[in-house]
């Protein structure tokens, strides 16, 4: 398949791996902060190809994983309201809340639909004027852009039965917070699709302040390995900066049109991250203009007290302090069929990817 096969070329992969091996000096830790990378790294079997002196850490890049139980509990509460249809991406359906999950509510009769895009949810709202549609908006800058476009559309077409429940977050505050928490990171494999929206500039501060390598990477095997090679060179030469490997998609300035819509539709707020706690100005809620479309504003529900799972170390895993198999629940109590922690639910979650792919 064009535009895919050339980035999965086994002979090219072999060449890059041998170049990485010849450049290696000290042990280094590289962190990928995008769930798409976590998944791709495991799916291609990349850890088995790299020298042992490169430690790959999975960071807080899976949106489902960093979202708190309180969000799920509140979505569950919304799903129990009469005449409400919840629209969500598939992953979120299986995430356990404190005492229930969207999956369990669906089996009990709640109207919960899986959608591929916010536009499907908007279509549903148009066809069901007597129902109230709540879209569960989750994800980083990549999905923020599509949610913003959807909300812009809903606003301009004066849709009155469509609401957003936002768990959207932005990536940069987490990158700095991890290093502040004491995680040893020599370089970031930075998220390609987030950067396609934001541009490369969002990483400048963390690179300057913490002296870490940073390469914006694509999602195919060649992309990831080339990014690792670029990071090894940055680290060896102590020449830290933001480089773009994923040039076929990411422009240094990003997608300025998307940035403008995001800035119109959303405003920053302090937000809670699993493993990192509350980070200032790291979450997104609808701006004043769009306030009437905000589910949190429109619906008044009682949300149960949050109960966190005992023994689950998702927080430390998201910080890269622990590996999934360090967790006592991993693969025994917590499996992809019966996930306990969020990292096991999403296919982008570190625990799910480890259990599915790691030898």
């Amino acid at each position: 398949m064009k535009h895919i096969d050339e980035y999965r070329d086994a002979s090219l992969v072999k060449k890059i791996v041998s170049k990485i091996k010849s450049e290696m000096r000290d042990e280094i830790s590289l962190m990928e902060v995008c769930g798409g990378h976590t998944w791709a790294i495991q799916k291609f079997g990349i850890p088995a190809m790299l020298p042992k002196s490169i430690k790959l850490l999975s960071g807080p890049g899976c949106p489902v994983c960093v979202t708190g139980r309180r969000y799920i509990d509140q979505a569950v509460a919304y799903s129990r309201l009469p005449n409400v249809i919840i629209c969500t991406f598939g992953d979120l359906i299986r995430v356990p809340g404190s005492t229930s999950s969207l999956n369990a509510e669906k089996a009990k009769g709640a109207d919960i639909r899986m959608v591929y895009s916010i536009l499907d949810a908007i279509e549903l709202a148009r066809h069901n004027p007597a129902k109230k549609i709540i879209f569960l908006g989750i994800g980083f800058e990549t999905t923020v852009a599509s949610t913003a476009a959807g909300m812009y559309n809903a606003y301009n077409t004066k849709l009155e039965n469509f609401f957003l429940f936002s768990a959207h977050k932005i990536m940069p505050p987490a990158l700095g917070a991890l290093i502040d928490e004491g995680v040893k990171i020599d370089g970031y494999i930075a998220p390609g699709h987030v950067s396609a929206i934001t541009g490369a500039g969002i990483y400048d501060e963390v690179v300057r302040k913490h002296k870490v390598g940073c390469v914006i990477a694509g999602f195919e095997a060649v992309d990831i390995l080339q990014s690792v090679y670029m990071l090894v060179k940055q680290i060896n030469n102590k020449d830290f900066g933001v480089e773009i490997q994923y040039r076929r998609v990411v422009k240094p300035e990003g997608n300025t049109k998307a940035q403008k819509i995001i800035n119109d539709v959303f405003t920053l707020r302090d937000d809670w991250w699993r493993g990192l706690g509350t980070l200032p100005k790291s979450g997104l809620k609808l701006s004043n203009t769009y306030k009437h479309l905000d589910a949190e504003n429109h619906f008044d529900v009682e949300v149960e007290d949050t109960i966190e799972e005992k023994g689950c170390i998702c927080g430390d895993i998201l910080k890269g302090l622990k590996k999934p198999d360090d967790c006592a629940l991993f693969g025994t109590v917590c499996t992809n069929a019966n996930p306990v922690g969020a990292c096991m639910v999403s296919h982008e979650g570190a625990c799910n990817a480890y259990l599915r792919f790691n030898i």
Partner: protein, 338 residues
């Protein structure tokens, strides 16, 4: 059981289905034949060994590119018997029909069942019809059961007890066509995908291999749960594991494109005309030659090998030269695919 209610994932053919079968059906129906958990039960009779199986079909939409719920219901049961090493002979057909279903749709379905049965050389000899109120089922559900005869030397195929390190793993063609054809028909009616289901009766292909006296150790049709499910099942057997090469597994371009776009792993997507066969190494090339002469095996290939290096693990040599495990599907990938 960790949930109070049945979830869609319990019907996925993956881990959740496994748990449901173990913790509920086997718990209560408990008997030696059932407990073997093979696709067909093998029953000793005065006429010799018989294979007996049943399957229900709930696919949505009922008509899709490359087939419909009718030929699916015939092929599925024919294939379940055939992969046990049996020659399918007689089928039953039970229909649960929703009030209001247009007769011409029903006729299309029944006609294609008859055609498929003719092709597979089986007879539909008994049946049942129930009509339920509108909303009590979705258009039409079909159950088929089937019986077939089995030569005594083919008895071990069903259990896979003869699998040994060095045995070759063979598939008869491309994967994921059925699942993606249904997905395309369901969600992208207006979008011409030209993906067609691989729904096919495999009994003649299997018969030609067995008649060659090749030492076939195990067979399974890779339906729900995809080829990954079959690999995991093989890895559980004896004290062996297996290794397969991603580069040898054919995924048609249009199917691959759709999988990439929608985030499906073709290894987990359902097939309705594909089987995984484990054969003795010395017979592998011959089996490939025989399969390729059959219309449903033109792209047959050796895709891997049984190994004693990592017992109970299915390992994939990835297309880029990495290694990883293949795990069973957890939860639902795509409901109502067959």
């Amino acid at each position: 059981m960790t949930t109070e209610k049945i979830l869609l994932g319990h019907g996925s053919g993956g881990k959740m289905s496994d748990e449901l079968i173990k913790n509920l059906f086997i718990k209560y129906f408990d008997n030696p034949l059932l407990n073997q958990q093979t696709d067909s039960a093998l029953i000793e009779t005065s006429r010799g060994l018989m294979a007996f199986t049943t399957d229900s079909y709930v696919v949505d939409p009922v008509i899709f590119p490359g087939g419909n719920i009718g030929n699916l219901a015939v092929c599925g049961t024919v294939n379940d018997l055939s992969v046990a090493g049996a020659t399918p002979e007689h089928l039953s057909a039970g229909f649960i029909i929703e009030e209001g279903l247009p007769i011409d749709i029903l006729e299309t379905i029944v006609k294609s069942m008859a055609e498929e049965a003719m092709k597979a050389n089986v007879k539909i000899v008994t049946g049942d019809t129930k009509v339920v109120q509108k909303g009590s089922c979705d258009k039409i559900f079909i159950n088929t059961a089937g019986i077939g005869t089995l030569k005594p030397e083919h008895k071990p195929i069903s259990s896979g007890d003869d699998i040994r390190p060095g045995d070759k793993i063979i598939i008869n063609g491309s994967i994921a066509d059925h699942g993606m054809a249904v997905m395309a028909a369901r969600n992208f009616g207006s979008f011409k995908s030209n993906i067609s289901s691989d729904c096919a009766p495999l009994n003649k292909l299997i018969k030609s291999v067995l008649d060659s006296n090749a030492h076939v150790k195990f067979m399974r049709d890779a339906t729900r749960g995809g080829i990954a499910g079959v690999f995991c099942e093989i890895a559980k057997k004896n004290n062996t594991g297996l290794e397969v090469d991603e580069s040898q597994i054919l995924v048609n371009e249009n199917v691959r494109g759709m999988c990439e776009l929608l985030g499906f792993d073709p290894f987990y997507v359902a097939n309705e005309g594909k089987l995984i066969m484990v054969v003795a190494p010395e017979d592998a090339d011959n089996v490939i030659d025989i399969m390729r002469k059959n219309e449903y095996g033109t792209h047959a290939a050796i895709i891997g090998e049984i190994t004693d290096k990592h017992p109970h693990k299915a390992i994939l040599n990835t297309i880029v030269g990495g290694k990883r495990i293949i795990d069973m599907l957890a939860g639902e990938q795509l409901p109502r695919i067959c």
